[in-house]
C-alpha cells in the first residue's frame, strides 16, 4: 500500500467516523500550530497483520464538544469521565475502520482503548513510555490532523509489518 493510499484510508476513517456517529464535520487539515498543544488523548493497540497502535489526540474543547454531541448532554456540564469514555470509543472506531482497509489478516483484534498523556504521545512516539518496535521489524507511521470547528483532532497510526493491499 502506498503512503498516499494509507493516508487516504486514515483520512476517510476520521471523517466518516466523525460524520456518522459524532455529527461533526471535518473542516479541512489542521494547521501545525493547532496540533502543538492538544490536551486529550487515547490509544488503542491492535493485533493482526500488521499489528500496531492508533493514537488520537484532541483539543480539550473539541473533545468536550464531540462527547456532548455523542451523549446528548450539555457541553458545559458533561463530566470529564464521560468525555474520556467517548474519546476512547472514538479512537476504537477510527482504528477499526482503518484496519478494515489495511489489514492482511482475515481477522484482527483491538485491545481496550486507554486514555494516555497527550503531551507524551505526539510527534515523537519513540519518546513515549511504551517500548519501540522489535528490532528489524518494518515500521510505518501515518499522521493526519483535521480541524473540527471546536478544535483540532490528530490521529497517528503506527504499524509493524506488511500492509495490505500491497
Amino acid at each position: 500500500m502506498t503512503d498516499e493510499a494509507l493516508r487516504q484510508a486514515l483520512e476517510d476513517s476520521i471523517s466518516e467516523t466523525l460524520d456518522a456517529m459524532f455529527f461533526t464535520s471535518c473542516l479541512g487539515p489542521a494547521e501545525d500550530r493547532a496540533v502543538a498543544d492538544l490536551e486529550a488523548a487515547a490509544r488503542v493497540t491492535f493485533q493482526g497483520k500488521p499489528s500496531g497502535r492508533l493514537t488520537v489526540r484532541m483539543a480539550g474543547g473539541a473533545a468536550r464538544a464531540i462527547a456532548a454531541g455523542f451523549l446528548g448532554e450539555d457541553e458545559e456540564t458533561v463530566p470529564e469521565e464521560r468525555v474520556g469514555d467517548v474519546l476512547r470509543e472514538l479512537t476504537n472506531m477510527i482504528c477499526g475502520f482503518v484496519l478494515s482497509r489495511v489489514e492482511c489478516a482475515e481477522e484482527f483484534r483491538l485491545d481496550e482503548p486507554k486514555l494516555v498523556d497527550a503531551a507524551s504521545c505526539g510527534i515523537a512516539p519513540e519518546q513515549a513510555s511504551e517500548p519501540p518496535a522489535a528490532p528489524g521489524a518494518p515500521r510505518r507511521r501515518m499522521v493526519h490532523a483535521v480541524e473540527t470547528g471546536a478544535g483540532a483532532l490528530e490521529a497517528s497510526l503506527e504499524m509493524e509489518g506488511r500492509i495490505c493491499p500491497p
Partner: protein
C-alpha cells in the same frame, strides 16, 4: 407496540448512544436494559425477557462471541434475536457471528438510520 431491548457493550458512552438512537428513531421502548459484558447480559436475561439484544464483540470477561455461544446453549434464551454491533468489518468475523446465531450485524461507525433499519428488520422477523 413497545419493546424490551438489552444493550451489551463495555463502553457506557456507546450504550448511551445506542439507546438514544433507538429512542429517537421512533421505537417505543417499555424497557431498555444494559450490560457491560456477556456475563452480565446472561444475568439480565435470566431475570428479564427482552425482544432483542444488541451486542458488541470486544468486551472483557465474556466477549460477544462467547456470549452468543452461551446463548445458543440455553433452550429459552436462544430464541431471543441478537444483533452484533462491532468495529470489526472483516467477512470472516461476520460469518462466524452469524453462524453462532446473530440475526444481524452492524459495523461501527454506523449512521443512526442503519441501526434502526437492522433493528426494525430483526423485530419484524420475530413477529411475522
Amino acid at each position: 407496540m413497545s419493546y424490551r431491548v438489552l444493550i451489551v457493550d463495555d463502553s457506557p458512552a456507546m450504550r448511551t448512544f445506542i439507546r438514544r438512537v433507538i429512542e429517537s428513531s421512533g421505537f417505543e421502548l417499555s424497557d431498555c436494559f444494559e450490560a457491560g459484558n456477556g456475563e452480565e447480559a446472561l444475568d439480565v436475561l435470566r431475570r428479564e425477557w427482552v425482544d432483542a439484544i444488541l451486542t458488541d464483540i470486544n468486551m472483557p470477561v465474556v466477549d460477544g462471541e462467547e456470549f452468543l455461544r452461551r446463548l445458543a446453549g440455553e433452550d429459552v434464551l436462544k430464541t431471543v434475536p441478537a444483533v452484533v454491533i462491532s468495529t470489526d468489518a472483516t467477512e470472516r468475523r461476520m460469518e462466524r457471528m452469524l453462524a453462532l446465531g446473530a440475526r444481524g450485524y452492524v459495523t461501527k461507525p454506523f449512521r443512526p438510520e442503519d441501526l434502526r433499519a437492522e433493528l426494525e428488520r430483526t423485530l419484524e422477523a420475530i413477529h411475522d
